[in-house]
Structure formats: structure tokens, C-alpha cells
């Protein structure tokens, strides 16, 4: 398993843009809000591609519906921009049909673990060799900021005007429980930690999940005391702890913090590989 361990000299952003990005027209911008963490996550993704020296013509980004769904437009790769929640299921089809492809699911928290939860869980179970990057901004952004299965308890959104009363998912635990063999969490503040996680996720053979805490100051932050992007980034910086730190803390101290790091890294049969073995077995008999 290759990992981003050796010293890697960060290059100016222009280098990554040149190799892996497709910038909007000169008089246009990314279609995210100013200050949106998606721009930062996108940066980590193109840096990870560069580190791994991937061939853009062999990369497919799979996206569904949400603010992040246009990200594929800004990345030099093929794109499957399909229905809300399609992510892991469509990616399964793409990867099985052509195992040479690097398939990256870009999904919001709603796309991945609300409408797409069934496909997410089964993709993990099958351990299909794809990478799922989940942009967790606590809300359904594109439709205006409604609450969802990752909205923190007690916080306000368009559909939880009195504060959310439902429990929220721990996406990493969900992925690990379902059988994902690489699971990591980072935040958009931790630009290079995130780059490392994305690169390791892509390099890992199996179902890889990177949960990215991504600031939505316009919709969630504004309703919860952090209307500025920099406020949310500072919050990520100050509230993130490593697994080692979490171990030394009590449950009360850990509550409300983001534990970042690589939680799972294991080997299990991967369906694409298994299927290739099956074909060989069947054809030898016949």
C-alpha cells in the first residue's frame, strides 16, 4: 500500500491548477459561495491527484446532487453527474465495467448518507475499490440549508428552526461498521492533512472513505453563530483532535470535537478482484 509518507514539497497552487483543474471562464467563478470549504476540498483533491501522478483520462468523478456536484466540472477527469444519491452504486458499475479506472465519488452528506445511505453501506460491504469523499457541511446546501442526518444535535437549520432533535450519523463509524477498508476524517482547514488522506484513500485498494468537515457559513454557520468562513475555519482548527489525543480525554471532553485521522486501514476481499478470480475459475472449468 503506497502512502504519502516521504517528504513531499508542496508546489504553488498554479502547478496543481495547470495539471488537474479546469478553471471557469475568465469572468466567472467557482459556483460555490465565497469562502465555501468546497473550494478548499477541491484543492486537496487536485493536489492528491498530482502527488499520485494520476492520468486524468483514467479518472472518473461521480457526483449526485448538491452544491458540490459541479466540482467535477473544475477537475480534469471524466464525469458522471447523475441523480441524487447515485454515488456508490453508479461508481460500482463504472469500476466493475472497467477496473483500470480510478473512480472517485464526490458526495455531500445528504447524497452519501441520507438518500444514498443504502448504496454507501453496500459499497462498503462489497469493498469495491473506489474512493468516496463526503463533504459534511451539516446541511442540504443546494436546496437552501435544510437539516439532514449529520446536523449536530440542537443546531438550527431551515427545517430544524427550534434546534435539531434527531441523533446524527458518525459517518466514519458508519463506513467502518459497513466494512470500508480505509476510513479517515479531516477538515478543510487542515489543507495538507486532507491532501494526505485523499491520496491515501485513492491509493488504497478497497472502499475508501474520507469524511471532510466542510464549512457552510452561509447556511449552517449563519444560523448557528458563525456567519463568516474564517470563524468556521478557526472552529475546525480549535476543535479538531487526533485519535491519540482523544484517547487521553474523557467522553465529555471529546463531545463536540472533531476527531481527525486515519481510523481504518485494512485488507478484505474486494469485489472487483474477486470477480476477476471468479471469471478465471469459471472459464477454466468450461
Amino acid at each position: 500500500m503506497t502512502t504519502v509518507q516521504k517528504a513531499y514539497k508542496p508546489l504553488p497552487m498554479e502547478h496543481y491548477i495547470e495539471n488537474y483543474a479546469m478553471m471557469p471562464a475568465v469572468d466567472d467563478h467557482f459556483r460555490y459561495c465565497p469562502g465555501c470549504g468546497l473550494g478548499l476540498a477541491q484543492g486537496a483533491i487536485v493536489r492528491a491527484f498530482d502527488y499520485l501522478k494520476l492520468d486524468p483520462s483514467k479518472i472518473v468523478t461521480v457526483s449526485g446532487s448538491g452544491c458540490y456536484a459541479v466540482m467535477g466540472q473544475y477537475i480534469k477527469a471524466h464525469q458522471f453527474h447523475g441523480p441524487h444519491g447515485a454515488g456508490a452504486a453508479a461508481a460500482t458499475g463504472i469500476k466493475l465495467a472497467n477496473p483500470e479506472l480510478t473512480v472517485i465519488c464526490l458526495q455531500g452528506d445528504g447524497d452519501a448518507v441520507s438518500i444514498g445511505a443504502g448504496h454507501f453501506v453496500h459499497g462498503a460491504r462489497r469493498n469495491i475499490d473506489i474512493t468516496v469523499i463526503v463533504f459534511n457541511n451539516f446541511v442540504f446546501g443546494e436546496t437552501g440549508g435544510q437539516g439532514g442526518p449529520t446536523t449536530p444535535y440542537g443546531t438550527k437549520t431551515e427545517t430544524t428552526p427550534y434546534g435539531a432533535i434527531e441523533n446524527s450519523f458518525d459517518i466514519c463509524q458508519l463506513a467502518a461498521g459497513a466494512g470500508a477498508t480505509y476510513v479517515a476524517r479531516s477538515t478543510v482547514y487542515h489543507a495538507w492533512h486532507l491532501t494526505k488522506c485523499v491520496a491515501n484513500a485513492i491509493a488504497h485498494k478497497g472502499f475508501s472513505v474520507v469524511e471532510v468537515m466542510q464549512n457552510c457559513h452561509e447556511l449552517w454557520g449563519r444560523r448557528n453563530g458563525m456567519p463568516q468562513a474564517s470563524q468556521m475555519l478557526n472552529w475546525y482548527r480549535d476543535s479538531s483532535i487526533t485519535m491519540a489525543q482523544a484517547k487521553e480525554m474523557s467522553p465529555e471532553q471529546v463531545r463536540g470535537k472533531f476527531v481527525i485521522g486515519e481510523f481504518v486501514r485494512s485488507d478484505r476481499p474486494e469485489i472487483g478482484e474477486e470477480y476477476a478470480k471468479l471469471i478465471a475459475r469459471v472459464q477454466k472449468k468450461g
Binding site: 508542496p10 497552487m13 478548499l40 484543492g43 495538507w192 474564517s230
Partner: protein
């Protein structure tokens, strides 16, 4: 009496911080997060403007945290 204020410690190199004004959308991240207060928000559009380049340590926080990829830090 010193005739020149000290600049930030760095190897003897030229650091440039270039803000692509067209891409900048005044989100305020670089202005708020730069540890050395190199930027201000220039009126009327509040876009980022480099005002204290000698204070820059070349840490590149602004470059990595610019959501519109509008900042390029060039170290010669």
C-alpha cells in the same frame, strides 16, 4: 538607532504574494487567518490586498486556504 524595521525571519529569498483580484470574492479568510496580518480588506469591494509583505514568513496559509484559488505565493 536602527534605520530599518526588522522583517520576518526567512532565508534570504524574495517572497511574493499575488492576489488574483478577479478571482477574489472577498470571503475574508486570508485577511482573518494570516498570522502576520499581511492582508487588509480593501474598500469598497473588500477584496484582499497585500499591505505588509515584509511581515510575510512564506507559510502559505493564505494560498492553501483561499477558497477561490486566488492567491499565489512565489518564493524565489
Amino acid at each position: 538607532m536602527p534605520t530599518k524595521a526588522p522583517s520576518a525571519p526567512r532565508k534570504a529569498r524574495d517572497i511574493q504574494v499575488v492576489v488574483n483580484e478577479q478571482r477574489c470574492r472577498s470571503c475574508g479568510i486570508c485577511i482573518d487567518l494570516c498570522p502576520e496580518k499581511v492582508f487588509i480588506a480593501e474598500k469598497p469591494l473588500l477584496k484582499a490586498k497585500v499591505v505588509d509583505l515584509p511581515a510575510c514568513t512564506g507559510c502559505r496559509l493564505c494560498e492553501w486556504l483561499c477558497t477561490d484559488w486566488a492567491i499565489n505565493v512565489v518564493v524565489k
